[in-house]
């Protein structure tokens, strides 16, 4: 309920007529908040991913390709998210028996592998220059908010994506799956001694996290109108959600809130002061969480 109220307030913010730059900043902040929320779906079950860009890129390329072959943007976004969800399930199946550093490396490698494929399979992906001419999303007659092109449209679309990710995360965290994931995080062996089989829950977490990340990737492709391998499969889309969500903790809203704050501090405070060092807040956040606040990170 509280969450719905916050989202509603954020949805009508553009009525105040803020400068276009701020609308852009907030849209991007919501995008990262979506990614951090999706990352947390894995972390909630104790799985640390260093390769969310794999799913972001799958969503972006899936939507872009479907769109360039004539599918409507609503269908392409669904397809992009589904492709990324399937990719997530595949990674979960393949890497589900790995933990800790091995899992981190496997996910990192997956993203790099897909980046390599996108760079080299020129006939399908356009190679290094990527794909352009992806149309923006048309507004829906049933919704009074602008969703299409323009800054306001992008803002609403990005916020809607975040709302979808948070709804999914809330559903998972409050369900049987959430309990199973929490148990596996706290002790996989303990879980198995109660009859819990780890793999299906891990695959589920990967599929949902991948799907939500791919949803953001698909929306990104339609908002920007172009996808490029080094961007959508790039390391920043892997590392930023990790840092943000780690700072935010394992709660439902923590990762999203931390993402918005970190991104805005980075862009609004650090960027004007020291453009070259504007990513410092991410570094500080990571240091703070790993060294100073280990207890904070552990709160469920």
């Amino acid at each position: 309920m509280k969450l719905a109220a916050v989202l509603l307030v954020l949805a009508v913010l553009p009525l105040l007529g803020p400068p276009a730059y701020y609308l852009y900043l907030f849209s991007t902040a919501y995008l990262f908040a979506t990614l951090a929320t999706a990352w947390n779906l894995l972390a909630y079950g104790g799985q640390v991913s260093f390769g969310q860009a794999a799913f972001f890129g799958l969503g972006a390329y899936g939507a872009a390709l479907a769109s360039l072959h004539g599918a409507s943007p609503w269908l392409t976004i669904t397809l992009g998210a589904a492709l990324a969800g399937a990719g997530g399930a595949a990674v979960g199946l393949a890497a589900g028996r790995l933990n800790g550093a091995a899992l981190a490396l496997a996910t990192l490698a997956t993203a790099e592998l897909l980046r390599g494929v996108a760079l080299n399979w020129t006939a399908l992906t356009g190679g290094g220059s990527g794909l352009v001419g992806i149309p923006s999303v048309p507004s829906l007659p049933a919704i009074p908010l602008e969703l299409g092109g323009g800054r306001v449209g992008a803002y609403h679309l990005s916020l809607a994506t975040l709302a979808a990710a948070l709804t999914l995360s809330a559903a998972v965290l409050r369900s049987r799956a959430g309990l199973a994931l929490a148990a596996l995080r706290e002790g996989e062996t303990r879980g198995t001694l109660l009859g819990l089989r780890p793999l299906p829950w891990k695959v589920l977490a990967f599929a949902l996290s991948g799907g939500a990340t791919g949803l953001a990737g698909a929306v990104y492709a339609h908002t920007l109108g172009a996808v490029e391998p080094d961007v959508v499969f790039g390391r920043f889309f892997s590392i930023a959600p990790l840092v943000m969500a780690t700072l935010g903790g394992r709660s439902l809203l923590g990762p999203a809130a931390a993402a918005v704050v970190l991104y805005l501090v980075s862009e609004l405070v650090f960027h004007p002061l020291a453009p070259a060092l504007h990513q410092l807040p991410y570094a500080f956040a990571l240091i703070a969480v790993t060294l100073v606040l280990p207890a904070w990170r552990r709160t469920p």
């Binding site: 309990l179 929490a182 706290e186 002790g187 001694l193 109660l194 009859g195 819990l196 709160t299």
Partner: protein, 235 residues
């Protein structure tokens, strides 16, 4: 009524053989105590039975069906649950959530509400602390929760690894009453531990384990009276 048979079991860890041909049996409704000095292989035996450790040789049967080599969750699904040494609760989760996790396995889930009533009757203190985090319970309460959570899986055979470790006398008394009560309901129990006298007094059948072998078996009372037991445990 579940029956566990262990035949010439050999098991260990990387390069170290711990169990050297252990044979034992627990018939339906029995309380079987496995005692022995530190390093005798008591925990290793229970780990192998619960599927945490793959035996090198020998067989483990639950009601005649081989369970050695199966995964822990498959073994739980067949009705054998181990409550490991040191409780191994989910600390940041609540008492209620810990119990719910025990009922994830279908055999427990089907009778979840009924089992909840049973364990709350067995341990009323847990009923009053359903929302308390497991890590905030006292040691005795944590051990009760570990047993209660194990019972939520609806085992036919319950294994307990050193269940009284670090507990005060009063708590151990309460715990023994609870174990007696669940055994009287038809549950087969296999327990190991340092509290030799306690365990042997509860036991209908008992085994003395030393250096990975069973060196003595009999009723609990027989082992209690045995000179060999005293010599093995008090060198």
């Amino acid at each position: 009524m579940a029956r566990l048979t262990v035949e010439s079991l050999e098991a260990g860890y990387d390069g170290v053989q711990v169990l050297r041909g252990v044979a034992l049996e627990a018939r339906g409704g029995e309380f079987v105590a496995v005692v022995g000095p530190n390093g005798a292989g008591k925990s290793t035996l229970l780990k192998a039975v619960a599927g945490l450790l793959r035996p090198r040789a020998g067989a483990i049967r639950l009601d005649g069906e081989r369970i050695d080599g199966r995964s822990p969750w498959e073994i739980v699904a067949r009705g054998l649950t181990l409550i490991p040494e040191g409780r191994r609760l989910f600390g940041p989760l609540s008492v209620r959530e810990n119990l719910e996790l025990g009922a994830f396995v279908p055999r427990g889930g089907a009778v979840r509400e009924e089992t909840l009533r049973v364990v709350y009757r067995l341990f009323p203190v847990l009923d009053g602390k359903q929302r308390v985090l497991a890590q905030h319970l006292s040691g005795g309460e944590q051990q009760m929760l570990a047993l209660a959570r194990g019972l939520m899986t609806r085992p036919r055979l319950l294994c307990l690894d050193d269940p009284f470790l670090g507990l005060g006398r009063a708590v151990v008394d309460a715990f023994c009453d609870a174990l007696r009560a669940v055994r009287d309901e038809g549950l087969t129990i296999v327990a190991t531990g340092q509290h030799v006298r306690r365990l042997l007094r509860l036991a209908t059948r008992a085994y003395l384990l030393d250096e990975g072998r069973v060196i003595l078996s009999g009723t609990g009372a027989e082992l209690l009276a045995s000179e060999q037991l005293r010599r093995t445990l008090l060198p």
